[in-house]
Subunit: 194 residues, 2 copies
DNA sequence: AAACGATACGGAACGCCGTTCCGTTTAGCA
DNA sequence: TGCTAAACGGAACGGCGTTCCGTATCGTTT
């Protein structure tokens, strides 16, 4: 899962060993910097942490957003895969949805500022936004629709809105001890109930 | 309401006519640019629109945020003043709270990107963030506490969380027709109910 | 009317950002 | 052991908010 940065499947590996090694180094360094300083950390910080030039970063990841995507891709993957599993192991689709949202939220708040990226249109992050949506929205939709079909939640919303809503609630939760994102998401999810 | 930029009351007017005129021009220009391009519009755009140098802006408004505050001050004021009024004219504090939140949301979504500012810690916007909180939080608290006291809403939240939550839900609502912030706020507020 | 501070003005300059460009180095193959 | 395509580092670019300062203007005082 570590190499392709376009769609899953057909990505080509670089021929040269140093390039592959550097990409790996870069991903590690970026992950480290992201947890330390948030997703907004300057590209230069990551380059320094990796002991690498700026050009190197930008050949591997054409855009800051692409780097962020690559770093979090497999974590998003895990979240996506949990969806169907939860649906299968729960009698109530609503409960499954709630638990999936818990997972989603955990993921978001663990990574500094990642949630903020979910609502950003500032060009560069559009890619990341798109990726999150492409991968997670179908999962969320499946859970949400099941809960709607079971008559457990109100039906005047879209799964998309729920996901973005949750993402937005988590935005900027870091470093503000008066604001408990988990609890607010709980309120939102409670409001979903029919 | 047009001149003071510190706290209400004791602000001193500039002695020179051109300064007063420029400040006015600046506020008009900024308002115009903000509706056209959102609160994130570059300072230089505002300077150009006003036909004024950058230095002039920064003497009148030490920070971008101060300018934004000045532009929206009386609208924030109106929102703040509506709180007690709603509380007085409604039998149910919960209904008053809900209506106040409607006002608040209207204000946020009408002005491009203003909501995003509520969740931002990015240094530059801190002033703006602080101002919003200082003025609006007490109002929201009054309404919220009344609703809690009346036993109409759950009590494991703070007014601060509600306000930030609503603000967050509205962030990035522009230009996304699949995302209806109003409706999500509605869900959140419904979830508040006890 | 003239002269003179105090005050306000414009915009060049600074530091930080993401990103691009290109001369230099190096890996892997013949 | 060369040779070349690939990858490298980092200077340079344009855009941002903000600062700084020489210049122009205002309002006053003679």
């Amino acid at each position: 899962m570590s190499d392709n940065q376009a769609d899953a499947g057909g990505a080509v590996q670089s021929k040269r060993a140093d390039a592959r090694r550097n990409k790996e180094t870069l991903l590690d360094a970026a992950a480290k910097v992201f947890v330390a300083s948030g997703v907004d950390a300057p590209v230069r910080d990551i380059a320094r942490e990796a002991g690498v030039g700026l050009g190197t970063i930008y050949r591997h990841f054409p855009t800051r957003a692409d780097l962020v995507i690559a770093v979090y891709r497999h974590q998003v993957e895990a979240c996506a895969e949990a969806g169907p599993a939860l649906l299968a192991s729960n009698a109530s689709p609503y409960v499954a949805l709630r638990e999936w949202i818990d997972l989603f939220v955990d993921f978001l708040v663990t990574k500094h500022g990642l949630a903020a990226v979910l609502r950003s249109d500032s060009a560069g992050f559009e890619t990341l936004h798109t990726y999150f949506l492409d991968r997670l929205l179908p999962v969320c939709t499946e859970l949400f629709d099941a809960a709607v079909a079971a008559g457990e939640v109100r039906s005047d919303l879209s799964a998309y809105e729920v996901m973005r809503g949750v993402g937005n609630l988590c935005a900027g939760a870091e470093g503000d001890d008066r604001y408990d994102a988990l609890r607010l998401v709980d309120v939102l999810v409670a409001g979903l109930r029919r």
